[in-house]
Symmetry: C2
Subunit: 222 residues, 2 copies
């Protein structure tokens, strides 16, 4: 193929081969990178995988980010779930029973976090904690610890009001969180493979509600 034919091909091409999108690119690249990282892991994801998933070629991500590690960090910082604040407010404003509040919180969490890309980030951080200890600590201190605090507060309120019996607080908080965690994690690993599904994969929200009911029934003061 000679220069002329290439030229004419290009000139005749009815649609552009690519488009300039200075504003949208960074977000597109981060979205693509997150899903690739979650699927394959950080190391196994090639820059070209990210580029292809974002609909660009492998040079383009470097126009917007220093390197692969900076992409990872940008994701971890950016996908940050400011959502906790909403849950905090929900808990403060709510004036029904602690059980009803917990149901609301789980529903809200599923909607905003559990079934969102944030859930994938959570799995990713678990897998990469040892490779990015600073980020992992950030994530722990800004997300995991406060989540525990919040749940702890709600639980304590229920105990104080006599709605719940006096259970070991710390362990109970973790027990309440466990179904949320496994749902996120499982749905981003085995859950992706055809045929590898368990109860919680088919109907995540239903599972979360049932698991919560079970524990709440166990918390009842009678």
């Amino acid at each position: 193929m000679n220069i002329d034919s290439v030229k004419s091909m290009t000139e005749n091409c009815p649609i552009a081969r690519w488009r300039r999108k200075k504003e949208a690119r960074p977000a597109e690249i981060l979205d693509a990178a997150l899903s690739q990282f979650v699927e394959k892991g950080y190391r196994a994801t090639k820059m070209e995988d990210i580029a292809r998933a974002a609909g660009v070629t492998k040079g383009t991500p470097y126009l917007y980010f220093q390197n692969k590690e900076e992409i990872f960090k940008a994701i971890a910082r950016g996908t940050f779930v400011a959502n906790l604040q909403q849950l905090d407010r929900l808990a403060d404003d709510f004036d029904g029973s602690a059980s009803a509040l917990l149901h609301q919180m789980v529903a809200h969490w599923w909607q905003e976090v559990g079934c969102s890309p944030s859930a994938g980030l959570c799995k990713l951080m678990i897998a990469e904690a040892a490779n990015f200890p600073e980020l992992a600590r950030f994530y722990f201190e800004e997300l995991i610890a406060p989540s525990n605090q919040l749940l702890s507060r709600v639980l304590q309120r229920g105990i104080d009001s006599g709605e719940f019996r006096a259970v070991p607080l710390v362990h109970t908080v973790d027990a309440l969180l466990a179904p949320l965690l496994t749902t996120m994690i499982f749905s981003h690993s085995f859950g992706q493979l055809p045929g590898c599904c368990i109860g919680s994969t088919k109907d995540p929200l239903g599972f979360l509600q049932d698991a919560l009911d079970l524990v709440l029934h166990g918390l009842k003061n009678n």
Copy 2:
């Protein structure tokens, strides 16, 4: 340093620089590889990391295994938790209440799986499921699905005998497994970082017992 000095150093060396261990090497290498893979992930682990952790140099693993991938596969197949059979037998032979049986099973599981290297493999498979789909399916079919089955049977027995109320079986099984999974996973990620500990990290067995008690209390037929 000339040839002679090297020679004399070698000759004077009071202890051998290495030992021949044809029989023991494969297991040593697999053990080392498992802990490295669990810590850093499959891709981020260098063959030299594995060799160093096994106390050999980087050529040695290749005397016993084709390549890195074969090491991973050998681990996944070999670390296989034949332990399920023991749990199966435990369940079949037990003649106390279903609650007591579940407590026994959890204690046994923690001892044999939860705090063993198998737990690390579990975290690893979760992270690598998409990169090794065949292995992941094997793992799912041979381990996860049968575990679910077993728990399901025990639960059903408790329901049939009137010990438990009639709960949605599938979701309840997953709810029972969730604390076990989070304990394994968490202790091999954030749990490794100094200061990043939650209730279940400090006293895993205590947490598992408390979480089980909570759910059992919720299962009670009253």
